[in-house]
Amino acid sequence: MNLNLLELPPHFLTVAILTVDALSPLSMVAKMPGKYYRSQAAPTDDMLYGLLENALGWHISEKDRNDLIKRIQKKHGKTAQASGVGFKSLLQFHLRFGIRVETPSEAVLRYDDYWSQHLRTGGLEFFGGSREHDARLIPLVNAAAEKQISLTDSGGVRDEEAIGDFRPGDKINFSVVRPYFPRYYVTPTPREYVVPATAYQYRVETSPDVAEMIADALEDPAAPLYLGSNDGWVEATWRIFPEAKG
């Protein structure tokens, strides 16, 4: 992972064409997610930066990423743009997207489908939505399914032993049971998917070093490339025009 390039001053003399071809329906959500995920017809710039960083393998944690962004901002004297979910791309200072050829909104096929939204909370929704729980909880879960006991958010039995030792008619506080659900609960959420009619093409302006780096990365990506949701796999190709001027 060679990040030294980012310290160099940005210049945009090299032109390349990035072609992104969808291999499966894409769901590119930019704003207002939660209850219904509405997809854009074409990816936003932040999504494309994310695609390239994915190929480069720059999977950096949020804290480290923010530190790096601060350093780069100070070096180049510009402020970083963040996406709607707070993703700050490291490439944004050295690479910019120019002319784009995208499938217009009328030509994409749109449909709604259910998507397994994974959520985590301290509340009672966990119980109904998660099949992954500790095996020690099985008798209690069975009893709750038969409505012999009930779980509640407020009041109720708070004794930790209640997991093995409960009687019909008990009301057990959820905090007793919560530690035994290690992961997420799943809720089916409607999500909009688009099937673009053509590939997306972008004219990219960047420096020669960055262009080479990305060319190598897209030859052999560090991770599967996707746009929007991570089941929206795409094929991305990169062609550099050494003679064209930015």
Binding site: A30, K31, M32, P33, G34, K35, Y36, R38, Q40, T44, E62, G84, V85, S105, E106, A107, R110, D112, Q117, H118, L119, R120, T121, G122, P190, E192
Partner: protein
């Protein structure tokens, strides 16, 4: 700031329309720009004007929050509803939420909220209003996008430990809040939830749509007047079926009903209005229409074929007649149309989806419920088979002639076979006719090849209808046998669709005992065929 802004030396720090990528918030901004900024464009507004425009749009929406009636349902025949003013709502929180439906104080269908949490919507919209009028709250300040002002947003983890609301700028939240409460949007109560219909268009077209809809909606001001329920209780006025004129009565036709009604109105309006309506409907071609309610979101999309039918005003007749007349054979015993039966719901759902997708799989689902179609459906089928499936006109007309002959003759045979004094005679004739038609359909669908199908159709024509297929059917028979211009599957669908179509001359048989007299008797059969061709 975009590159263009820099180039134009535009150092405005105001948010641009491009920052609103979600159609929900965009719709709110379009309403503000159409009605609350004195016609100025977004670029020429200063911050104070924009804030005031947003605030006024919110207040206007809150003035159409709840409705009430002073009429007594037990003693009066008409209930006239009027909106409760914002001042009264602010003075008396008991008017905002509570078990008010039993008192006839219904929520306007354009408020995208549920009865349970409408108190939260009111409070949060008031909060956004206060922030807009508060000079210290910047427009780009991040705030929570709660479901009370943006029902499509929700709480998600996004990497955090707990579910949290997603954030947006105050500008975005204000635009979304306007979309949630404004009456200037197509809305109805679908399945008990207040649902708004939001087209996904760019700002220019969206502002035009909002303006055209405003004029269209103004024609339906009497939809606030309703009738009490039979047991002397309050009942919602027709506004809840759709806050625009000629809204469809069934939820399944929600989005297409809007297009149809708008097109019908536009086709009968003055020249300028007609052109504006046509432009608005054209802009909706292949663009999604989001049906957003507090409980769920779905979307609809229409091809240009259906939009052409809407623009001509024909779609309204087709849907209206369909709702009033089309009945699955399986529910013929029911005395009145029961739209809650799963079979009927499936039928309407398939019809609605056919009108949206307008392709072969959707047609197959539409044809999967055996029913009789009203005569106006002829136009819809013609457009589909000739423009989408590209079947040559003469073949479609030949299939039509054959199908219509089968349908009419089945009626006459059923009429003859049913004894005069039978109890509930029209119903009995109807069922007998359906039986004949079903036999034809089964024969057609279970055929192995075009030749087999034609053989079966001819045999049954002779046996059940005591006649030969008309000469006009030859083109259809030949084309099906050859199989070049029309595939076997399409030939089957073509004939089935047309034999279900009630001809204009056979009477509609209503199950409650009434029924028109036929325009021709069985004796005039042959001569009538020629006459019918020119009329249809």
């Amino acid at each position: 700031m975009t590159q263009l802004d820099l180039a134009l030396n535009n150092t405005s720090t105001l948010p641009s329309a491009e920052s609103l990528t979600h159609p929900y918030a965009r719709y709110g901004l379009a309403v503000v720009l159409a009605f609350h900024t004195d016609g100025k464009l977004l670029q020429s507004l200063n911050e104070e004007q924009l804030r005031e425009g947003l605030a006024r749009a919110l207040e206007s929406g809150l003035n159409f929050f709840r409705m009430e009636t002073k009429d007594d349902p037990q003693h009066q025949q008409e209930l006239r509803f009027r909106p409760i003013s914002l001042d009264r709502l602010r003075a008396d929180p008991g008017l905002v939420s509570g078990s008010l439906a039993s008192q006839g104080k219904y929520l306007f269908p354009s408020i995208v909220a549920s009865d349970k949490q409408v108190k939260g919507t009111f409070a949060d919209v008031e909060k956004v209003l206060a922030d807009l009028r508060d000079k210290t709250a910047r427009l780009d300040r991040m705030s929570d996008l709660k479901r009370s002002i943006a029902p499509i947003a929700g709480e998600i983890n996004n990497g955090g430990k707990e579910k949290v609301n997603q954030r947006g700028t105050l500008f975005e939240a204000a635009c979304a809040a306007v979309a949630t409460v404004t009456p200037e949007k197509p809305a109805a109560q679908f399945g008990g939830s207040n649902t708004g219909i939001f087209p996904d268009l760019d700002m220019a077209h969206l502002t035009e749509f909002v303006r055209v809809f405003h004029q269209f909606q103004a024609e339906g001001s009497n939809r606030l007047n309703g009738k009490p329920a039979k047991n002397g209780k309050y009942r919602r006025p027709p506004l809840h079926d759709g806050n625009y004129p000629d809204a469809p009565r069934d939820d399944a036709f929600g989005a297409v009903g809007l297009l149809a009604a708008m097109g019908y109105w536009g086709s009968r309006a003055g020249e300028t209005t007609r052109r504006e309506t046509i432009a608005a409907l054209d802009s909706l071609e292949d663009r999604p229409l989001y049906l957003i309610s507090y409980d769920g979101v779905s979307h609809a999309q229409f091809t240009h074929h259906v939009i052409e039918l809407a623009k001509a005003g024909s779609l309204q007749t087709i849907i209206n007649d369909f709702y009033h007349e089309a009945r699955p054979y399986a529910v013929y015993d029911e005395p009145y149309l029961r739209t809650d039966l799963p079979l009927v719901r499936h039928f309407y759902f398939a019809t609605s989806r056919f009108l949206q997708r307008f392709d072969a799989p959707a047609l197959r689902d539409f044809l999967s419920t055996r029913a009789e179609y009203p005569p106006s459906t002829d136009l819809l089928l013609g457009v589909y088979f000739m423009q989408v499936e590209n079947i040559p006109r003469h073949i479609v007309e030949s299939a039509r002639a054959l199908g219509q002959w089968i349908n009419r003759t089945a009626y006459f045979v059923a009429d003859e076979d049913t004894a005069e004094g039978t109890q509930n005679r029209p119903q009995a004739v109807r069922k007998a006719k359906a039986k004949v038609l079903v036999e034809f359909e089964s024969a057609i669908m279970s055929a192995d090849s075009p030749e087999d199908m034609l053989h079966r159709v001819s045999t049954r024509a002779g046996r059940l209808l005591q006649g030969d297929a008309p000469a006009e059917a030859t083109a259809y028979f030949d084309a099906s046998a050859v199989g070049e211009e029309i595939s076997f599957r399409t030939a089957q669908h073509l004939l089935i669709a047309y034999l279900r179509l009630r001809t204009a001359k056979t009477p509609e048989l209503l199950p409650n005992g009434t029924g028109g007299t036929p325009a021709v008797t069985a004796a005039d059969d042959d001569s009538d065929l020629a006459e019918q061709e020119t009329q249809e």
